[in-house]
């Protein structure tokens, strides 16, 4: 009883503290200028409306507002008032007055700096204080009648609100073209995500039906329960890995569909397939979903499945923690995407630059921030788990320098993640507090700093792109060596290059901010360090090429993807060299050249690496061989259409096509004499890219079909189908649980030599001496 009381009191205190925080949090949304639309008109300029002030709205050309509007047309409005103290008692005509205009339908847009939108209503700015007339645009809705309600203040110019000032109000009603009944129009994003959700549910029902038809006798809860309990509660590294695959592939599809919508919108200039709002949400979620919900889970899937097998461990060090890091992901994903179903998804770009993230009126951005906080937690836990597992659970005989390269790449990748992701978490929480309890971390009016976010984000964001590409390096090292039937060339330099990439990742992030207003000295330093990235990656590429020398290269699907990776990653790496030179970056910044570059390294690097990994380890994971014929078809269509998508983007970027624009300007018609708009063939290239993008998207369905079909009907796979050397090929396919009956010992084909000084020291630190465990515990 006593204990319970203590908890109650503690909970109450926490609630009270939170409540006080909410009460006293600085209010930064106070209106600096403008008048509000509360019914008393304006709390500061007298109480009742005065008939001396005459407010009016006309069209900018002087004619009266039309009785019926044209759906979707934009009208230039002239907002004005006459009479009152502004004319009688205000000879200098300063501080003459202000207004507030509310449109029940349609959109009001300021066209100069005298007016602004505050909380969805149009009002004047500081600059528009000395006027009696203002201009603004009103875009008519598609249907229904709209009411425009105007309130104006007539001010005597004494620079303080007094009862001498007077105000009045007027409202106009403009009906739709035919006066038709208003129709409901759903947001595209809502439709899309509801469609995806509905498809998933229908798919689940269909699957259940198939089970029922196949074997009605055994279709019972008693048999189904253990199956579902297994998947929900399993802590086995293989089951968790499979869960990662399922969720990763699902979101790869979601991100792909978003990309297709973006491409349809851009297929021709001035397209209206998506609205501006929808387009902004689509590219934001495409980025976030692809990085955090597709690439990272798929990598985690392979890390979960393969790393314990490669180092000869029965499971990960902390299996429960591992299951928890997985289950944080779907929860985070649901939270992150939940803004979608209201049509108010995050519309800030995956980088979430401030202050737009803190100020956008799309409340999906709040969920987007909250969801990413959970993903940060998940990644941190994964990082701890893999670092500890790899450091302490290697089989006897496997020193640091005998670890398979895939395990090395995962170690380097989780190290980078573990060191960088907390800063991102901090930034997200700050932005979240800005949006929810009005803190002012990123509010410039209250002294916040938008560049702080850029630093916090890119300190994480740059290592993050290496986090997703480094595991692909590991996969390619394994695949090329095995396919060529050779040892990897220069194992040691491969390891040092990986570690070098891991180190350099932290000192180059400023190249994302070369035009951000950061100190020129810092920009100059990151120009030098960024170029350094080419050295370790160059070593890796040349080592892979040399590995093939003198080998016997066998062309299987994973070999093809690995060679495809070499081509695209080299191209992506070369185009990356153009950015650090500041004089070039000021032209290339935020153009499609950047888009081309990072898709060449993230799709051509990470995704091709993951495809190679799928074909390479599929027999180990499922115990079935994959269809090579379908695999080669997938590679040919995928590789060609992929290059068709991203290669022309280099050219478009050089011509100055800017990213994140929902449309683009072609040098034609009234733009024909404006230099710097896109030449007419850019529209054709964009159409070509869209066609190729659809081919690339559809070609990946071949792989999904191949995965499912081979799982059901594939040939049985032997333990070592490709002839690799590491431990995962020692156990049967699929591996038993626990993965090893007894821990194997790694033999070494090289002459025995004592470990180097550094290696020896690391070994001593990382491996507890079995002799004096009791003493260790006492410390």
């Amino acid at each position: 009883m006593q204990v319970r009381n203590v908890w109650t009191v503690r909970a109450m205190v926490i609630v009270a503290v939170l409540f006080a925080a909410l009460m006293f949090s600085p209010e930064h949304d106070a209106r600096p200028t403008g008048i509000s639309s509360v019914d008393s008109g304006c709390s500061c300029h007298s109480q009742t409306p005065s008939s001396e002030v005459v407010a009016s709205i006309t069209l900018a050309n002087g004619s009266a507002l039309p009785e019926n509007y044209e759906p979707g047309a934009t009208y230039a409005l002239l907002i004005s008032f006459s009479g009152g103290p502004a004319e009688d008692n205000n000879p200098e005509r300063v501080n003459t007055g202000g207004f507030n205009l509310v449109a029940s339908k349609g959109t009001l847009t300021p066209i100069d700096n005298t007016t602004q939108i505050l909380a969805g209503e149009l009002t004047h700015t500081d600059a528009g204080n000395d006027q009696q007339a203002w201009n603004a645009n009103w875009t008519a809705p598609t249907s229904g009648s709209a009411v425009l309600r105007l309130m104006t203040n007539s001010v005597n110019g004494d620079n303080s609100a007094s009862s001498d000032d007077q105000w009045n109000t007027v409202s106009y009603t403009v009906s739709g073209a035919g006066g038709e009944a208003p129709t409901m129009k759903a947001n595209g994003l809502t439709v899309l995500f509801s469609g995806i959700l509905l498809t998933a549910i229908l798919f689940a029902i269909a699957l259940t039906y198939v089970f029922y038809v196949r074997d009605p006798e055994s279709f019972s809860w008693a048999r189904f329960k253990p199956w579902i309990t297994h998947w929900l509660t399993s802590t086995d590294h293989k089951s968790v890995g499979t869960l990662y695959f399922v969720s990763g592939l699902f979101f790869l599809g979601v991100g792909g569909i978003l990309a297709m919508m973006i491409r349809i919108q851009l297929s021709s200039p001035g397209n209206d397939f998506l609205t501006k709002d929808e387009y902004n949400s689509f590219f934001t979620l495409h980025g976030t979903v692809m990085i955090f919900l597709a690439a990272m889970p798929l990598i985690n899937g392979f890390a979960n499945w393969i790393v314990p097998l490669q180092i000869g461990a029965k499971d990960l060090c902390f299996p429960r923690l591992n299951a928890m890091s997985f289950w944080l992901q779907p929860v985070g994903a649901i939270l992150l995407l939940s803004g979608m179903f209201s049509g108010m998804g995050a519309d800030v770009g995956w980088t979430g630059y401030q202050p737009i993230t803190s100020t956008t009126d799309h409340y999906g951005a709040t969920f987007w921030l909250a969801g990413q906080v959970l993903l940060v937690a998940s990644s941190t836990l994964t990082g701890i788990n893999f670092i500890v597992t790899i450091a302490t659970m290697r089989a006897p005989g496997m020193g640091w320098m005998q670890m398979p390269l895939f395990t090395w790449s995962i170690l380097v990748s989780v190290m980078m993640l573990f060191i960088s992701i907390p800063t991102f978490g901090i930034g997200l929480i700050e932005a979240y507090l800005d949006r929810t309890i009005s803190t002012t971390f990123y509010n410039t009016a209250a002294g916040g700093d938008p560049l702080l976010w850029s630093h916090l984000f890119w300190y994480f964001g740059h290592p993050e792109v290496y986090v997703v590409v480094v595991p692909a390096f590991g996969v390619i090292s394994e695949v090329i060596a095995t396919s060529a039937r050779r040892t990897i060339f220069g194992y040691r330099s491969m390891v040092y290059a990986l570690a070098g990439i891991g180190f350099v990742a932290f000192i180059v992030y400023g190249h994302h901010m070369l035009t951000s207003g950061m100190s020129p000295l810092l920009r100059f330093v990151v120009m030098l360090t960024t170029m350094l990235v080419a050295v370790p990656t160059g070593i890796k590429i040349f080592n892979w090429l040399k590995t093939m020398h003198g080998g016997s290269l066998v062309y299987r699907t994973h070999t093809l993807w690995a060679l495809g990776f070499l081509v695209t990653f080299t191209l992506g790496g070369i185009s990356g060299m153009f950015f650090p030179a500041i004089a070039m970056d000021v032209h290339l910044h935020e153009t499609y050249f950047v888009v081309a570059h990072f898709h060449y390294v993230l799709v051509g690097g990470t995704v091709f690496g993951l495809f190679a990994a799928f074909y390479y380890w599929y027999p180990k994971i499922t115990g079935r061989m994959m269809s090579e014929r379908l695999g080669i078809l997938h590679f040919l269509i995928g590789f060609i259409s992929y290059n068709g998508v991203f290669w022309p983007m280099h050219k478009l970027g050089l011509l100055g096509m800017t990213r994140r624009h929902h449309t683009y300007y072609i040098r034609a018609d009234e733009y024909s004499d404006i230099i710097g708009t896109l030449p007419p063939e850019a529209a054709q290239w964009n159409f070509f890219i869209t066609v190729c993008a659809f081919m690339f998207f559809l070609s990946n369905l071949i792989m999904v079909y191949n995965i499912i079909a081979s799982w059901l009907n594939g040939r049985k796979a032997p333990a070592d189908p490709w002839g690799g050397w590491s431990f995962e090929w020692m156990v049967s396919s699929p591996p038993p649980t626990p993965s090893f009956d007894e821990i194997p010992t790694l033999l070494n084909a090289n002459p025995d030599h004592a470990p180097g000084r550094l290696t020896g020291m690391l070994e001593r630190i990382m491996t507890p001496d079995p002799g004096d465990e009791g003493e260790e515990a006492g410390h």
Binding site: D112, N113, K276, D277, N280, V348, G349, Q354, P355, I356, G397, T444, A445, R485, T487, F489, G490, Y491, T515, M527, L532, V535, I539, I541, F542, L545, K546, M548, H549, G550, L553, V554, L563, V567, T570, L571, A581, I582, A583, M584, V586, H589, E590, M625, G656, T658, Y665, I675, G676, T677, K716, A717, A719, P721, W725, T745, L746, L747, A749, N750
Partner: protein, 248 residues
């Protein structure tokens, strides 16, 4: 004039030259190796795989039936069909395959190339951040971004040097500047990040609320130039355009 401005073009051509060299070396090397060292008969999915699978299932059946018997087929290594140069075996860390000299070569040569590229992209930064001495005769023009239009402020310059108007054809705001004069565009923003991008001159810099950033701009050819927003700023980001007109 080509896209991106003269400095961009010079650097771009130089970088392209070295990119092509690196690309050609890598791809020729790759294509050569992947043709010369290919094997036609390395596919394990053929006979040998079949044998092994049968063996596995036989073992499994026998275990089920309770027969505890171990057997192994003697496999002959056929060097021609499947050369195993490094004698790779499962559970054995393979024989090391390295050559310190080669590895040093492709560490040091790219490093030298990178030093060179750094060196050539060093000097052009002077054009982006000129010294105060070079800017003695420069004229200051204010450029302020707001959702979603550009606001130009001539700061008292004569209308010959700087003038703001409206383009009759497109309805966009026009900033008229004089040829061969140096301007400091003083950037700021009233709400979120914006970035004026003068496409043809290859100039971009963020306009950040709460601070001033600058673009140094010396127009060297007459004409109407397109200016758009290169930092995502909300709904009408794509429509946040203006024209810079250069006259003599």
């Amino acid at each position: 004039m080509e896209f991106g401005g003269d400095i961009f073009q010079d650097l771009y051509i130089e970088f392209m030259f070295w990119s092509v060299i690196v690309g050609v070396i890598t791809f020729v090397w790759m294509i050569h190796h992947s043709f010369v060292y290919r094997t036609s008969d390395g596919d394990l999915s053929g006979k040998r795989l079949h044998l092994r699978t049968q063996l596995d299932s036989l073992r499994h059946e026998m275990k089920r039936a309770g027969m505890d018997m171990e057997f192994e087929i003697e496999e002959e290594e056929d060097e021609r069909a499947w050369p195993n140069v490094d004698n790779i075996k499962v559970g054995v860390f393979p024989k090391e395959n390295d050559n310190l000299k080669l590895e040093l070569i492709w560490t040091i040569i790219p490093f030298i190339l990178i030093c060179y590229l750094c060196w050539i992209s060093w000097a052009p930064t002077d054009a982006i951040w000129p010294s105060a001495y070079e800017l003695e005769d420069a004229h200051e023009v204010g450029v302020t971004g707001q959702q979603w239009f550009w606001d130009f402020d001539c700061k008292g310059l004569t209308s010959d040097l700087c003038d703001v108007g409206v383009d009759s054809e497109t309805g966009l705001t026009v900033l008229s500047l004089k040829l061969d004069e140096t301007y400091i565009l003083n950037l700021s923003s009233r709400d979120v990040l914006h970035a004026p991008k003068i496409v043809q001159y290859g100039l971009t810099e963020d306009a950040v609320p709460g601070m001033y950033t600058t673009i140094v701009f010396t127009p060297y050819e007459t004409g109407k130039y397109f200016l758009d927003c290169a930092e995502y700023c909300g709904d009408d980001h794509a429509y946040m355009t203006a024209i810079i007109e250069i006259h003599t």
